[in-house]
Amino acid sequence: MSGVEGFMYPNEYGLQWSILIVLYPYITGLVAGAFILASLERVFHVEAVKPTYRLALLTALAFLIVAPLPLQLHLGHPERSPEMYFTPHSTSAMAMFGYVYLWYLMAVLVLEIWLDYRREIVLLSQSSKGLLRVIYRIMTLGSSNISERSLAIDNRAGWIVTVIGIPSAFILHGYVGFIFGSIKANPWWSSPLMPVVFIFSAMVSGIACVMVLYMAITKLRKQSIDMRCVDTVAMYLFYVFIIDFSLEMLDLIHRVYEADESFRSLNFLVHTQLYIPHIVIQIFLGTLTPIILLGITQVVHLPEVVRKRMYATAGCLTLIGIFAMRWNVVIGGQLFSKSFLGYTTYKIGLVSKEGLLVAVFLTILPLFILWALIKLLPPWPANTAQAPAAGD
């Protein structure tokens, strides 16, 4: 059989989980990371990152709406997926994820965004016209009370929701890591470190995503980038990235030192089929290069324009690197036989149901949803627009 080397069990020829299952942890990670960044301002009072607060929340919502779509497209009978909610089985990791997802979407993200925007929603419901007015009126839930006292209550409630939201975000993405980490039959996945690595890589990708989006959108709006904000976001990205990389290396060292019965097979895989996506793209291009770029900005005082370019480059490379990490986990974990005596290959289709075009569409879709959300709920006050700075 083409693409198969050595001994493979019959159900290992073709990969069961495709690129869409790569997108699922990638998109969920962006959600959790973006929310953690938002919580920096709300709970930990890091005032410098305030310009990204609302954008981070809307980014999290846009990606969270899309997060279940790759799973739905992967299913043979997507119409049966609600059964996971109606008759959940306590031993099904995926059924429990359904509840984690719903909790995070409704009880955390939507509630926090609603509380934070309520004043604007009420004002817009009075000033806008046509269909938008109807939408804003529905969003007010029939209450136009924006007295100082009610807004203070919103603020307090929003703080509580964010405090609950931080462990929820950890659970959301930690749970995605758990889904892989708990598969004991697969030595590439089965590791108690998996949920922790997933949480930190989620924080890295989410922070990088919001940083890049903030810089790109500000540029498109022809406004000046708040360098104090971007410097602070980049600093947090750098520190979280160091922790994430250390954890991944700890996992690697543990595997190398333990060298259990799967090690020779996995080692061969990393040095052959996974060499480009794992060693070159994930570790060198997507991890070490952005860490070095971000590290330089922390120790050397560089001009603003250079810092911007370094942050943009580091942010984009980080997003590529984390995508490669998800690819290597999901696809890499299916390329070797559980007999450790054979290897298969993954050939991605172009226009199939789980093909490249669908994956590209699902990756871009959250950006369109974000655009619509920004139009509906502008993250920045209209009266604070600044003149473009020289050199922008």
Binding site: M1, G6, L141, S150
Partner: protein
């Protein structure tokens, strides 16, 4: 009282949650079959429905009761553990018919049937007989050389 008044919108949001939950319970009531969970995490009525389906397989003991010559040939060969209906298909109608010759199963096309198991594959144990059909027989039916009930070349087939 003013605290309740100023927090009224929060109660509305909470009310929305309660409404959604009630809606969920109503939908659940209608979409989950009544017998779900009767015996386990599945629809209990499914057991009766499956039991009511007509039997399609007769079982090899039934086949061997009439076709003892084939059973003896099969027992001596490598296909001893292959069930009759694995190749000939479900034969309950043939076995229970008053006139079995009227429901005689068609002879399987060996050029199609044999390669399902014997096409070479890396996943099969080395000791399992496997061939590249195009190279091995050049399109000829397998039963030209091999007797399906006892397929070894030393079992009476042409050399």
């Amino acid at each position: 009282m003013s605290v309740f008044k100023d927090a009224g919108h929060l109660f509305r949001f909470a009310g929305l949650f309660v409404l959604a939950f009630l809606l969920f319970l109503v939908i659940r009531h209608f979409v989950v079959p009544p017998s779900f969970g009767q015996y386990g995490h599945y629809r209990g009525a499914a057991m009766g429905e499956i039991a009511a389906r007509p039997v399609k397989f007769a079982g090899h003991e039934t086949c061997e009761a009439c076709h003892s010559d084939v059973a003896d040939a099969k027992k001596a060969g490598k296909h001893a553990h292959v069930n009759c209906e694995a190749c000939h298909g479900p034969q309950e109608k043939h076995a229970t018919s008053d006139d079995p010759s009227a429901t005689k199963p068609p002879l399987p096309d060996s050029a199609v049937l044999c390669v399902r198991c014997h096409t070479a594959s890396a996943a099969k144990p080395k000791g399992f007989p496997q061939v590249n059909p195009a190279e091995h027989s050049n399109g000829m039916p397998c039963d030209t050389c091999h007797k399906p009930h006892n397929p070894g070349m030393d079992a009476g087939g042409p050399k």
